[in-house]
């Protein structure tokens, strides 16, 4: 293990302590529970509350997108584990200003079941809840079985755009519509070059030998679609981008935003080498890039690897994507 940790049992709570100490003006916690993070300051009356939640170990996913122009709250689970339903409910109560709360989360069994339980609790207190489940990972199930797919870096786009929409005081069904529109138009694929270690386990829970790779691996080490020796960056990008393009499909004339995301250990230098190839492929396909995001947006601890996400834009999505957002982990001025 090559990690800065104290007692592995305290990993998540110490991290949250650090985050709250670092950004007191931006983040706070609900019910005095560090696992229930919310935006600091007064609730905006009538604004739809946006909540997410999920396991730790993916920063800035999930809590890193709580802030101006994005999310209102996030319940935080242990490493790679769902938060508990009552923490989700705690966040829900804290961010509901009367206009209801939209849950946006990735399609993982534990998270889905707990958000369902939380919604049942909220229902008992007459808080309107809607769910949007993100399923952008094309590697995790074939076309036609999108409902089985995992949610990965595409979450970022859903948060960003739904956040901008909610900030304009759109009602719950409208924010849900726009979030679902993002889901319908966003596709991702990942590749892993190394395993990662859950602090409490202390050693990698899966193996990728040095010089190997696994195309399509999930952000918790879920199996991918092909294992093999490490190809060149260009070949890997080709292998990741083709299924993405074919899945939606993205077509000549489309305008997209692209996210080239590091899973943790992969440095920005390599992401830009990947972007270079992605740019060429998209250009050859007649697809225009509107705004690229390149960096760490959804990670898997210290895993070496990357993912590519494409979002097809229309005027509406473009408008919301361009809006400013300021969280402790993501800043963007009006594009």
């Amino acid at each position: 293990m090559r990690k800065f940790i104290n007692d592995p049992v305290d990993f998540v709570d110490e991290m949250l302590d650090g985050i709250l100490l670092a950004h007191p003006g931006q983040l706070a916690c609900a019910g005095n529970n560090v696992r229930c993070l919310i935006k600091a300051g007064q609730l905006q009356k009538g604004k739809v509350g946006l909540a997410t939640g999920g396991g730790s170990g993916h920063l800035p996913v999930f809590l890193g997108y709580v802030g101006e122009g994005m999310l209102d709250g996030c319940s935080v689970g242990g490493v790679f584990q769902s938060p508990s339903a009552d923490n989700m409910f705690e966040v829900t109560k804290a961010i509901n200003s009367g206009a209801g709360v939209l849950y946006i989360y990735g399609n993982y069994g534990g998270d889905c079941m707990n958000f369902e339980m939380a919604a049942e609790m909220a229902d008992m207190e007459d808080i309107r809840i809607e769910h949007v489940i993100v399923t952008d990972d094309v590697a995790s199930a074939p076309k036609g079985k999108e409902y089985k797919r995992r949610g990965v870096a595409g979450l970022f786009y859903v948060y960003k755009i739904a956040g901008a929409c909610a900030a304009e005081m759109a009602p719950l069904n409208e924010v849900k519509r726009i979030a679902e529109k993002v889901c319908a138009n966003v596709r991702s694929m990942g590749v892993a070059l190394s395993p990662c270690t859950i602090p409490e386990v202390g050693k990698p829970t899966f193996e990728i030998e040095e010089g190997g790779m696994e195309i399509g691996m999930g952000i918790h080490g879920e199996p991918g679609i092909r294992k093999g020796p490490l190809d060149t960056a260009d070949e890997i990008v080709e292998e990741m981008l083709r299924p993405i393009i074919e899945d939606l499909p993205f077509k000549s004339g489309d305008e997209v935003s692209i996210l080239v995301n590091s899973l943790g250990a992969t440095p920005k230098e390599e992401l830009y080498i990947m972007y270079r190839k992605a740019y060429t492929i998209l250009k050859d396909e007649g697809i225009t890039i509107c705004h690229p995001y390149i960096g760490e947006y959804a990670t898997s601890m210290e895993m070496a690897g990357a993912s590519i996400t494409l979002l097809r834009l229309d005027d509406e999505l473009k408008k919301y994507l361009a809006k400013p957002a300021f969280t402790p982990f993501f800043e963007q001025k009006q594009l």
Binding site: S82, N87, M113, V201, H220, E222
Partner: protein, 209 residues
């Protein structure tokens, strides 16, 4: 023993805790090859928390004991299996609500409600390669044994054996739910980690009774 009171139920949960603690690495290992490798950690955390809480309460109503156990489990181990077990415990509590003593047939009801809670929350059916494939055959065997008038001791032992056999059959199944499902056909040949938890639960009943 043919009836159990609250203290017995708490003691059984304590044995389950011991079982998952003893099998922590084994659960982690099974879950590593079909999931994310946290099953050992979450089961220990959940059952340890439940066990610790139950040692301290002065509650005789078995329904309330199980309800409390479910709530603690949901809070401390909100993984897939944790949430399923929590849902199961709460339903089990509802099934024996108000009782300070349970008979063989109550115990069957309790375990049936436990299994039903898991099924309702997870929407899986037997054959999907989940904990249900350990629990469902155990339930059937228990029902039959009780109907045949066997002692609770023998009936529960047979149910435990059925859970072991049932869990074994998950090796031939294709996973349909949770992380194991990502392995698709490749999940064949591997035992479902959740089914192993099912065994440990039945084992505790068999050991205690």
């Amino acid at each position: 023993m043919n009836t159990l009171n609250g203290t017995d139920i708490i003691a059984i949960i304590d044995v389950i805790k011991d079982n998952v603690v003893t099998n922590r690495d084994r659960l982690t290992q099974l879950d590593s090859s079909l999931g994310d490798g946290d099953l050992g950690i979450t089961m220990c955390r959940g059952f340890e928390a439940v066990s610790a809480t139950l040692q301290e309460i002065e509650e005789k109503d078995i329904g309330k004991i199980l309800m409390k156990a479910g709530m603690v489990f949901a809070q401390t181990a909100p993984s897939t299996m944790g949430t399923l077990i929590a849902s199961g415990l709460m339903k089990a509590g509802k099934a024996v609500s108000g009782k300070e003593m349970v008979t063989s047939s109550d115990i069957f009801d309790l375990l049936e409600a436990f299994t039903g809670g898991i099924q309702a929350r997870g929407k899986a059916v037997p054959g999907d390669k989940t904990i249900l494939d350990a629990l469902t055959p155990a339930l059937e065997t228990l029902k039959k044994a009780i109907e045949e008038g066997k002692t609770l001791n023998i009936a529960i032992s047979e149910a435990y054996a059925a859970a072991v056999t049932g869990a074994e059959t998950t090796k031939d199944m294709i996973a349909k739910h949770g992380r194991p499902a990502y392995y698709g056909d490749k999940s064949v040949g591997k035992k479902d980690p959740g089914a192993e938890v099912g065994i440990l639960i039945l084992k505790a009943f068999a050991e205690y009774i």
